[in-house]
């Protein structure tokens, strides 16, 4: 069994593509059910951690407060899961609710 980092990204800035409050509520339940499902399969390698949505960006010019207009897709969250290989991790990621809003999941295996 290996560990995989799953990073969820989506566009939190473009007004037209943002979910309505009702959609968000439903979206929240989808996340919760998805996490529940992963936990029930004993796939969570670490306890879940919530992350602040805004953040800061540091580069050679200094420190900027998020969200970052120059980066369209920002990190919504990340989890570490247990999976046999990249194929299994990708299969799991395909159930991720971030995909419903045009987001994506980046996967990295711990080595």
């Amino acid at each position: 069994m290996n560990e995989f980092l799953l990073i969820f990204r989506r566009d939190f800035i473009t007004k037209e593509t943002q979910p309505s409050p009702e959609e968000l509520q439903q979206h929240f339940q989808q996340w919760q059910n998805w996490f529940g499902s992963l936990a029930a399969q004993d796939k969570l390698a670490r306890p879940l951690q919530r992350w602040d949505g805004q953040g800061k960006l540091v580069n050679s010019k200094g420190v900027t407060d998020g969200p970052f207009v120059e980066i369209k897709e920002s990190i919504g969250g990340l989890i570490i899961i247990k999976a046999k290989d990249y194929d299994e991790a990708a299969e799991i990621a395909q159930g991720c609710p971030v995909l419903h809003f045009g987001g994506n999941v980046e996967i990295r295996m711990a080595v």
Binding site: Q32, N33, F35, G36, S37, A39, A40, P47
Partner: protein, 423 residues
């Protein structure tokens, strides 16, 4: 074998003496706690002997002279005198224990007096709970020790509850006591930071004690109920102390009240388990449900969301028998949080059952299959349940696999009944 072992048998065979067994259950552990707090962990047996001897004197004297007006006060007076006598005549005690007692009591109190006031009893019991639930002993040993020292259960009752033999339990308890001595565990009231570090272990042991009663394979219903009652009494002791009256303590209490409310409804006349759906709701204890609701509201302060909160929430929704989308959406949400907090196979399966109620059987079947708990009969029972009404042949096949894996008679009966219902 220590004296209390025989006393248990003696009292329970005397039919005309209902009072002494009752007092033994309620007062034995109080006096033992006070004496242990006074003497320290190294002299736990002396404390037990003094109290056992007190009860022996009571049964002899009361049989001849009749029951005194205030039996509890009588017991306390005799225990005090026996303690004083013991201190006077025992030189070993003089040299070994007195220094310890001096350490624990104010110096301006040369005469050692056994303080059996309500306050000191409560303080000593709390100190004893934290001593008994010390992680230096295994959970199994902690539970046996708790039943013995905190609940006044005799060896034979404890072995009954564990379906184990007396010798094993006797050894387990003695080893646990020895371990406490080796580790030199102090019997003292925990301060706030100690409570913070230790409360999880204490609550866990009490909850295991409760579960031992609630889910025990023992057919002795009275005994099982006693175990549950004792676990609730210990939790109530924690609630009564400012330091240990925490949100999670109240949540655990709520959880136990909700579960206990169904105690009479969940077993039939012959001790067989009656499943939730088939229970006679009029047998549910409304008073316990109300108390559970009260403790649940008391638990919802601060930022702590313990597993007891989540389990109490689930148990709360089960006190409403009528199915509704609201009920099962809430239960699923609580199960999601619970399984995220701490993985266990039974929670994983229960969560999927709730999922079936919210999202339908087909989605739940896909989810169960991912769980892959192929050595667990509950896994096959759940699949059997989900396939019932969808594909009877598959349902039957799963129930039969479940039946072949089930170990206890009550589990087998439940599965056999499901198979009958299919046909």
């Amino acid at each position: 074998m220590p004296l209390y072992f025989y006393l248990g048998i003696l009292f329970y065979t005397m039919e005309n003496q209902e009072l002494i067994p009752h007092l033994f259950r309620t007062e034995y552990q109080k006096i033992v706690s006070v004496l242990c707090s006074l003497f320290g962990i190294h002299h736990i047996e002396i404390a037990e002997d003094i109290v056992s001897d007190t009860f022996l004197t009571a049964s002899e004297t009361w049989a001849i002279k009749g029951t005194p007006e205030n039996p509890t006060a009588w017991l306390y007076t005799v225990a005090k005198n026996k303690t004083k006598n013991y201190l006077k005549r025992n030189t070993v005690f003089e040299t070994k224990i007195v220094s310890e007692i001096k350490h624990n009591t104010p110096l301006n109190n040369p005469e050692i007096d056994l303080d059996l006031s309500d306050q000191n009893i409560a303080d000593s019991q709390l100190a004893m709970i934290f001593t008994v639930c010390n992680p230096c002993n295994s959970e199994e040993a902690q539970i046996a020790l708790a039943l013995n020292l905190l609940c006044g259960f005799g060896i034979s009752e404890i072995s009954d509850a564990f379906l184990s033999n007396k010798e094993v339990i006797y050894k387990r308890i003695n080893r646990a006591k020895e371990k406490l001595k080796e580790e030199n565990i102090k019997i003292q009231n925990p301060n706030q930071s100690e409570v913070k570090d230790r409360i999880q272990t204490v609550l866990k042991t009490i909850y295991l004690l409760y579960s031992e009663g609630y889910y025990s394979v023992s057919q002795n219903t009275t005994l099982r109920k006693d175990l549950c009652t004792e676990a609730m009494r210990l939790t109530y002791l924690l609630i009564q102390n400012e330091n240990t009256n925490l949100p999670e303590t109240n949540a655990l209490m709520a959880l136990m009240c909700f579960h206990s409310s169904r105690f009479d409804a969940r077993t039939g006349d012959n001790g067989e388990i009656i499943l939730y759906e088939d229970q006679d709701q009029s047998l549910w204890n409304q008073e316990l449900i109300d108390r559970g609701t009260y403790f649940l509201s008391k638990s919802s302060t601060g930022n702590t969301l313990s597993k007891y909160h989540l389990e109490a929430g689930i148990a709360y929704w089960h006190t409403i028998k009528q199915d509704s989308p609201e009920k099962w959406t809430n239960i699923l949400e609580l199960y999601n949080n619970l399984i995220i907090l701490e993985y266990s196979t039974i929670v994983a399966l229960n969560r999927t059952y709730a999922l079936a109620k919210v999202k339908g059987k087909e989605e739940a079947i896909r989810e169960v299959e991912k769980l892959n708990l192929t050595d667990n009969h509950f896994y096959y029972s759940l699949l059997g349940n989900l396939y019932s009404g969808v594909d009877s042949a598959k349902a039957l096949q799963y129930f039969e696999t479940a039946l072949s894996l089930a170990k206890t008679i009550s589990d087998k009966n439940v599965i056999s009944r499901n198979i009958e219902l299919l046909q």
